[in-house]
Point group: C2
Amino acid sequence: MDATAPPPSAAPAAPARRSDATRAAILAAARERFAADGYDRATVRAIAQDARIDPAMVMRYFGSKEGLFAAAVDVDLRLADLSDVPTDALGRTVVVHFLGLWEDDHLRGVLTALLRVGVTHPAGAVRMQEIFAAQVLPAVLQAVPDPAQAPARAALIASQLLGLALTRLVLRFEPAVRLEREEIVDWLAPTVQRYLTAEAP
Amino acid sequence: MDATAPPPSAAPAAPARRSDATRAAILAAARERFAADGYDRATVRAIAQDARIDPAMVMRYFGSKEGLFAAAVDVDLRLADLSDVPTDALGRTVVVHFLGLWEDDHLRGVLTALLRVGVTHPAGAVRMQEIFAAQVLPAVLQAVPDPAQAPARAALIASQLLGLALTRLVLRFEPAVRLEREEIVDWLAPTVQRYLTAEAP
DNA sequence: CAGGCATGTCAACGCTTGTTGGCCTACAGT
DNA sequence: ACTGTAGGCCAACAAGCGTTGACATGCCTG
């Protein structure tokens, strides 16, 4: 929490220290390891080795392993623009956007790490709750007529999209892995569309 | 794998040893710990303490921590009878059955443990793949006209149902936790129904 | 009653983990 | 050119892990 690192977006005039490259290397290695192994198996030593630095540097820059995790999974889902999407295209738009997130290398690492850690480590679950509340919920609020129903609808959408990521990218169920991108869109878009626009049952 | 424990259903005449109570206590404690903490944080020592025995007993009865996990997550989803369900009631039947699984204390523990461990530990992911292939897929095959489409449809259903379990029981997204049982059925049944019976897109 | 096997305890092992403090190096400001 | 400081490495720590083997206890069979 008292990380020596400057917040990526807070300080307007970044001091541009000499150690920025090292810090970035640590963060990249950490994301990869957390995504591949989860919180406990992603050891500080392994991350340090990947980044070709000493484990002590991790502590110097991020205070602790938890601090490193918090810094590594700062993510922006870029879900701002649902208000000017045609109502009957909402489902498809959301699914396509979501699949797009997993194709960006950086985001893919962050999201997989979040999914893996969120399931095992309390801090990870809290982080996912925060992202849901701060990014997913507001976006759904833009697209839904009755604000009171937005949380439930957002949760249903999250359950389907995270469930897909889970079976396809983490558990690697073979049929889920085989699905083509367009197939996924065609199957899931109506589901999300219904969760967004159908009358509450 | 060479666990001293008798397979629960293999030997027809169970010897009924004196240590069965201990073994059961260990298994129960293990399921609880694996479900609550995941594979790595569920230590053999903690499980032994919960079961009020010595950690060495775990090794004696189950060979290793991995052996204990394998024995603890032996699960039967009881999904055999989809062939005589009316076609247009399939979705609702599946969702209701799935929600019922989570209300049995034993199954709830096993399933949560599987979900938590499957995400972090390779052995857990393999186990979930096995269960999917051996239990979910055959059941879906009974309910679907074209067998070639069954795997993809089964994977989609698994993604939605596991996604719900994930957001509700593991990540504990607040709106997902708040959903009533009937609401879940009403929202998810049409989704599952479509994944089962809708024409492939 | 004696022996043997199942049951259980205890203490210790080797290893890995996160974390710490001391020390070296090299660049920047005067 | 000299010095302060930021960047980086090394060795070590205490704690916790899974696992092991030797030893105690009690039950059942002969």
